[in-house]
Symmetry: D2
Subunit: 340 residues, 4 copies
Amino acid sequence: MIFLESDYNNGAHPMVMEHLFRTNDEITNTYGFDKFSEDAKRKIMQACECPEAQVFFLTGGTQTNATVIDGMLESYEAVITVETGHISIHEAGAVEASGHKVIALKDHEGKLSASDLRSYMEWFSNDESKEHLAQPGMVYISFPTELGTLYSAEEISDIHQVCKDYCLHFFIDGARMGYGLAASPDITLPWLSQHCDVFYIGGTKVGTLCGEAVVFTHQNAPKHFFTIIKRHGALLAKGRLTGVQFDALFSDNLYLRISRHAIDMAMRLKSLLTTKGYQLYIDSPTNQQFVVIPNKRVKTLEKHVAFTHWGPYDPENMICRFVTSWATTDADLDALKKVL
Amino acid sequence: MIFLESDYNNGAHPMVMEHLFRTNDEITNTYGFDKFSEDAKRKIMQACECPEAQVFFLTGGTQTNATVIDGMLESYEAVITVETGHISIHEAGAVEASGHKVIALKDHEGKLSASDLRSYMEWFSNDESKEHLAQPGMVYISFPTELGTLYSAEEISDIHQVCKDYCLHFFIDGARMGYGLAASPDITLPWLSQHCDVFYIGGTKVGTLCGEAVVFTHQNAPKHFFTIIKRHGALLAKGRLTGVQFDALFSDNLYLRISRHAIDMAMRLKSLLTTKGYQLYIDSPTNQQFVVIPNKRVKTLEKHVAFTHWGPYDPENMICRFVTSWATTDADLDALKKVL
Amino acid sequence: MIFLESDYNNGAHPMVMEHLFRTNDEITNTYGFDKFSEDAKRKIMQACECPEAQVFFLTGGTQTNATVIDGMLESYEAVITVETGHISIHEAGAVEASGHKVIALKDHEGKLSASDLRSYMEWFSNDESKEHLAQPGMVYISFPTELGTLYSAEEISDIHQVCKDYCLHFFIDGARMGYGLAASPDITLPWLSQHCDVFYIGGTKVGTLCGEAVVFTHQNAPKHFFTIIKRHGALLAKGRLTGVQFDALFSDNLYLRISRHAIDMAMRLKSLLTTKGYQLYIDSPTNQQFVVIPNKRVKTLEKHVAFTHWGPYDPENMICRFVTSWATTDADLDALKKVL
Amino acid sequence: MIFLESDYNNGAHPMVMEHLFRTNDEITNTYGFDKFSEDAKRKIMQACECPEAQVFFLTGGTQTNATVIDGMLESYEAVITVETGHISIHEAGAVEASGHKVIALKDHEGKLSASDLRSYMEWFSNDESKEHLAQPGMVYISFPTELGTLYSAEEISDIHQVCKDYCLHFFIDGARMGYGLAASPDITLPWLSQHCDVFYIGGTKVGTLCGEAVVFTHQNAPKHFFTIIKRHGALLAKGRLTGVQFDALFSDNLYLRISRHAIDMAMRLKSLLTTKGYQLYIDSPTNQQFVVIPNKRVKTLEKHVAFTHWGPYDPENMICRFVTSWATTDADLDALKKVL
């Protein structure tokens, strides 16, 4: 079986597992005050060229979104995203669970448009009943998006400007951050650190067993964020678990190197698919590739390849998602080529 | 000044105030166990021809929506409505405040379409990641809608059928129920009692100072609903306040009589507006009338008439809302005629 | 039947009802922007001699507590009270419903001791794991307490000082504020306005049908408190309902005059009870009187008098509560005298 | 430095780490549907001799408590525990964050007494205002307790009986379950499975890097518990992380063997301490030992030994906690002996 179902079917990247194994006998402080977490935070701040940054490690994506959003918003504030946003759909209402409305604007191939955002905020600001509405307090986007697409630097700058104009926190979900950075012509961690208030660097989908590194970019972590993490059930007693893994990911440029590999594999995958005549559902530059496949073909194909049924395209065809990761090999794609 | 801004600019209907005044000296039980509340409940059950009904009095619309929805849903369940639904926009996130997602489908002039609902539920039911989503548990519609439009009996039946097919509670917001019933050719309280799980009969906008009567239609009030009301801060120590008012409203058919008057006034209002060449934004059969007015005209008109700026229609024109109520008089409309 | 069960068995005070009746025909703004609400706010600010005050009207006590506490606290903050505090027990978990822990210290006849509070805060501040705890953010007391007792000015000053030392908001529940003021030798509204951050003036138990007036004492109302009220389902569309009632209560010193009457009645009641040999459970100076009565005697007594079973004192005796109010008459007590 | 500060200063037990390392290259299903999780669940069910069990893996203790309690309770229900209960104090209000009140009864050396519980429930059931209170829905105890003490089988049976009498769920926090089982003369996993509704088997403090195994004992997992886990941000994309670790812990009786070792070390530690004249604060049979040490002595001792300041005993003495774990060695205690 060829596995292209998701970027979290594998264990940890060998260097990450190696670091866990090698450091296992050490005795450390708890709750993230261990030296590995300290080292990892320092390395992340360096990679971001952001001495003002405050870094926290959480365990998974939904948890991180819910904790950061709840931590930064006032109780009566809402978060704005697009209809395809992860927090909009695929988090079982975790944001609402802490009392915050999710306002979903129309997406454009998974992306939020700065001008839609500005129109919404203009409408809101001029609405005579606005005090009867949940108050927008934050904008959330994903980089890359849930559909594999990427914002350009200009698009993010424009959203950032609207956020500044309307005093909205700007939060970037980076569950697949590495794949976004590797595929982007103009966005880097240092650039991102200057163009949003908080983002996270996903580990789970980019080489770790678990863990997401939240970066507040300008000493703007909410007061008592440690307590907020605890209250969300998101505090690891053995904080070393995430610390060690990010320490490995941010040594020797590992994070970007393995992300780059996934993108190379994704581009070869896309080429294989289009060469074979598969119709792209979206032209994605990142590690998630979406194609439209006749239902019958899906059935035969999945005897050999694991991929995701994204949803019906029309009664006869299905949108299917193929995902590469740091673990995808040329051999996987060679095998795929034969069965396509 | 001619007041057509809303249906809650007036005090109570004289019969309601009279009843409050007349009963004021009596000593009663507290928390809704007074005889007036008991009488009012009995009268409402009779008006609904629904001996299975359980009736509770709450104070206002947003409170009622939040309490009923939270009371009926499991913690992880969401409520489905339309984008123009009151709970979607104008309740400051009160539903989300108790942890529930609001899923907003596209509206059709304020109405939910049964087929859109069915499509959504089919998609949800077949989605392979559905356990990662907030679970739909209830459908919420307003009768009449926030745009003044009305569902036909067939439309509500169809929604009810989808709800039954997918085990969804069906809840009807009746903040303006009286005006809907008075304008509807085929919907009555007894009919409604057989076509949904819970609805409420709005008092605040139809003759009382405050108060909404929630009707669970088939002995299906949530267990400990009294405690749920208390927990939502919605329990009146002097439950007589709402009890007395609904006792008056449901004596001598007052509720429907005064609602009918408002609809008569609304139809005359609509006729005045269209005769004068105003463009209807929506062709509403109820007490809310929406017209498109040039911005300049708005400015001169509002020297004489109080109405609501609903929002911009385009850069030069505004959507304006004119509302009649049980208190609107022919003299009001005669005066309006002169200034239009 | 003689009614001494609670201070909310009656309708409104005649002057309050009269004002509702008389103003009923007027057309007003909605949501609390009516002239009656404006007048009432102004009169309350004058009564408090507090030009810095911000006044808001809510409907009931539990709602007010939940809304003020949630509005002033950060999500991760807790409120400190005593075990007998209303928010601790009798509000169905309404404070927890918005996510805040209630920390209950031991009470002293219903009162919080400043030194207990200081000890708790010293312990908390020195605890090495304090970031793992809900962070204390507010102190809540009731004046008078749930057991009818009263804080002295010195006791409240001392609590206020601890609050200032530890940056805690200080909130006083005044559901029975009038009765407390009438019974207190040294506490007035102007004094209170200088010794806490927020308090409320209860209407429901002191002459209105509903309504509590929240007073933020130094321009410290939470940002967007209107939206917070709405989100809690606590916003009345016809804000005039509470505005008119408080306008009446704060005209001609009505609030204090009728409260004084209730205290006079309470002192006569206490004298009747002790003269007849009933054992006081607590020596209360306010309108709630608690006595210990043999179970058998309870049964015969309640054929003639309505009072509250507070709870068992021991297997043979019950703690019973008798409550006077603005509506209690000498005739009531004459009748009581005969049956005691 | 001798580490006796906590039972989570170490990495994973070597057998656990070995299993993680060895299985790292395998490709698995996600979200807990991997074969390691399946194997671990089966082994836990066997160890519990409970074919009716439903097992779920979560990441940490506070998260597990918050998720299980929220999952099993209705929105208006509260959980009963003791004042020293972990959910009462040390979880930053995580239970309240999902809207549930924590009712804290007096503890007896960390334990809940069945008779206190019965008295509380009798009082509650007879209280005339009980519908105004948060409704007790669950009892939570810790085995062993936060003070290292252990319930006897009889004590747990008695609590279980009260729970059955009053329809309360009975939940046992087993963050240190292994150490409790190893120290208990009469309680085993099969016995526990028959005497409560749900418990968890702690991994974080007994050999894993993270992970707690929740066991619903009689097919009573809440409906959609998977979604509830997701909504609490507690779902691991790579469920294998906890699955693999519990697979190791429940192979070859590892969990009990390493727990037994920690108890042997704890008994030797206690003997060392008492022999040296240290006063026990509590006579604990488990891996947490509490002694009273003069403040000055604390300062010199902690140059050599890491232990926890539990809190002041009196102005001159401190309560200190020494903790053994599966990782404590005789060499550690030999070293301790020299510095005591």
